[in-house]
Symmetry: C2
Subunit: 357 residues, 2 copies
Amino acid sequence: MKKLINAIDDVVKEQLEGMAVAHPDMLKIHFDPTFVVRADAPVQGKVALISGGGSGHEPMHGGFVGKGMLDAACPGEVFTSPTPDQMYEAAKAVDGGAGVLFLVKNYTGDVLNFETAAELAFADGIKVQSILIDDDAAVKDSLYTAGRRGVGTTVLAEKIVGAAAEAGYTLEQCADLARKVNKYGRSLGMALTSCTVPAAGKPTFELGEDEFEIGIGIHGEPGRERLHMKTADEITEMMALAIIEDGAYSRTVREWDNEAGDWVEVELVDPPLQAGDQVIAFVNSMGGTPVSELYAVYRKLAEICNNKGITIVRNLIGPYITSLEMAGCSITLLKADDEILKFWDAPVVTPGLRWGA
Amino acid sequence: MKKLINAIDDVVKEQLEGMAVAHPDMLKIHFDPTFVVRADAPVQGKVALISGGGSGHEPMHGGFVGKGMLDAACPGEVFTSPTPDQMYEAAKAVDGGAGVLFLVKNYTGDVLNFETAAELAFADGIKVQSILIDDDAAVKDSLYTAGRRGVGTTVLAEKIVGAAAEAGYTLEQCADLARKVNKYGRSLGMALTSCTVPAAGKPTFELGEDEFEIGIGIHGEPGRERLHMKTADEITEMMALAIIEDGAYSRTVREWDNEAGDWVEVELVDPPLQAGDQVIAFVNSMGGTPVSELYAVYRKLAEICNNKGITIVRNLIGPYITSLEMAGCSITLLKADDEILKFWDAPVVTPGLRWGA
C-alpha cells in the first residue's frame, strides 16, 4: 500500500485538518465528535442540510460544505459509518431554527445512526426530516444494504436541495425536493481496479489484468458481474442502458414525522426514464481514473441519450463521489424539471463544487 | 493496460469530442489541425492567450479554455508536442486584433514548434509574444528539456494572465505579467506509480512496492532520486524544502521581438522565496491520487510555510496538471503580489477551473 498518509489511525483526522486550514472561508471542523460545518453556521431562519457517511469518497461530503450546499457533514472513518453523536452535535451546531434535513445514503449503518440522531435532535426541540438516497440501479440488495445503495445522486441532491434551502424553502419543501431528486436519479458504477482501505493495507478485492466489474459499489461491494475488458464505448453503453432501461423501483422507507414524533413508513416508486425526458448527466471518477477518460465516456453517453430521446441539459464530469484511489467511473442520470434546474444553476461555493459566485 | 478508451489512435480525438459535447457554452473544438478555442472567439480588442502541449495532463490545457483563462489550447497526442500548424491556426482563429501570447512549457518539442508558429503568425501580421514556463525546481536538465521543465506554474499563469487579458491588458503587459508569474513560481513533483501511455501499452517506468520518486516529471521523466516509501509529512517536507530553499535560477531564454521581427535572447533570474513572502500554494494530483490525500499534504505544507515565515494567501488543491493516471502529487508555490492576487481572484469559467461567475 503506497499512499500519501501518515499513521493509519490519523488518516481521516489529518485530511480534515488539511481541509480546515485550506478553506477557513468556507468551513470549520469540530473534533470529538467530528463534523464539518459551514463557516457562517448556524444561518438563522434557514433549513440546515446535513449529510455524512464513511470517509474515502472525497470531496463528498466534507468538500460540499459551504454556501449553497451542505450546512454540515459527518465523516466516519474510511468506509465506516459516522456515529449518532456526530450527527446529533452537527444538527445542534447548524440548526438556525428552521429545522434540519438529513440526506442519508442507503447503507445500514448510516441509516441506523442517522435515525438515532434524528430522535435525539427531535427530543431537543429541533425539527427534523430525513430523506434516504437509494439510487444505485446495479443490485437490489448489497453487502451493507437492504435495497439499493445510495451513490451519485447524493451529490446532485446536496447541490439542489442546498440551493433550495439557501433560497428559503421550508423544511417540508426541502424534504419534498430531496425525495423528488432521489426519485428521479439513477446511477451505475464500474471498477477497473480495487482501492485499498488504509486500515486493511491490501486491496478490498482483486480484479485481473483483463477484467472489470460492472455495478460495483463505492466501497468495493460486488456488482453485477466481472467481465473481460471492453472498450469505453461498450462499457458506457452497458452502464447507460442499465440506467435508462431500468424499470420502476418500488420499496418502503422510513421517514421521520414531526407531528407524530415517530417514524412512519412511506411507499415510494421511482418511475423509469423515458423518451422526452431532460436530464442532468453526471460522469464521476471513482478516484483513480483521470478526467480525460471521463470525457470519452461522456461522448458515448451523450450519443446514447440522444438516440433514446433523452436530452442532457446539464452535466457534471469529474471526481466527486470517489472510492479512494479506485480506477473506474459511475454514471448518474437525473431527470430534471424546472425546479431542479433552477437550483442546480444557483450559486455554490464549496471546496468541491463551485460556480456562480 | 486497463483504461476507459476505444482504439488507441482515437484516444485524444474522442476525449476532445466528449469535451466539445459537454461544454459548448465554454469552448469549441477544431480538428485537422486540432485546437480548442473559447466559444466566443475571437474576442475583438482582447489579447488572446494560447497554450498547448502533449495531451495526458487534463484538465490542462483544453479544460482551461474559456472566459477569464485561455483563448485557445493546442493538444498534441499523449505526451507528444503539438505541431506548428495547430498553434498557427489557433492564433489566427483567436486573434482579436490585440495580438496573441503563447505560454510555452519548457520542453524541446513544444519550444521549437511554438517558435515556428510565432514566426508564421507574425508573417501574417499578428503581433506575438511568447513566454516560457520553466518552474520545475527538481532537475536542471531533463529527458526532453534543456533547463528546467514547465509544470504547475503553467496552470497558475494561465489563470492569472487570462484574467489580465480579460481586463484589457495589452500584449506587452500580459507578457510582462506572465514573465513575472514564471519568475515567482516554483514546483516539485513526486510519483507513487507510473502512468501508462496508451500507445505504449505498458508503464513508462517501474517503481517498487515500497518506492517513490521525488522530482519526477509530468511525462515520467526521471526525478532526483528513488527512495523507500516515507510518510506524507516526510514527503511533503522534502518537496516543500526543495522549493523554499531553492536558490536563484539564472538562464537565457528566447523571446519574440515584434519590433525587430526576430528572436532575442533575454537573461532571466528567478529569486528564491524568502521569509515575509505571500504565496499561492497549489497542491496537485498527478491523476491517480485522490483529493483526500492532497489535503494531508496541504496540512503539512501549511505548517512548513508558516515555520518559514511564508504566508499562504490562496490555494488550489486538486488534479489540474496530471500525468494520465499516475499516482503522486506536485507542489507549486507562487510568490504573489497585489497584481497577481487581483487576477487570481477574478472570475473564470472553464471546464477545469471555475469561480466568481
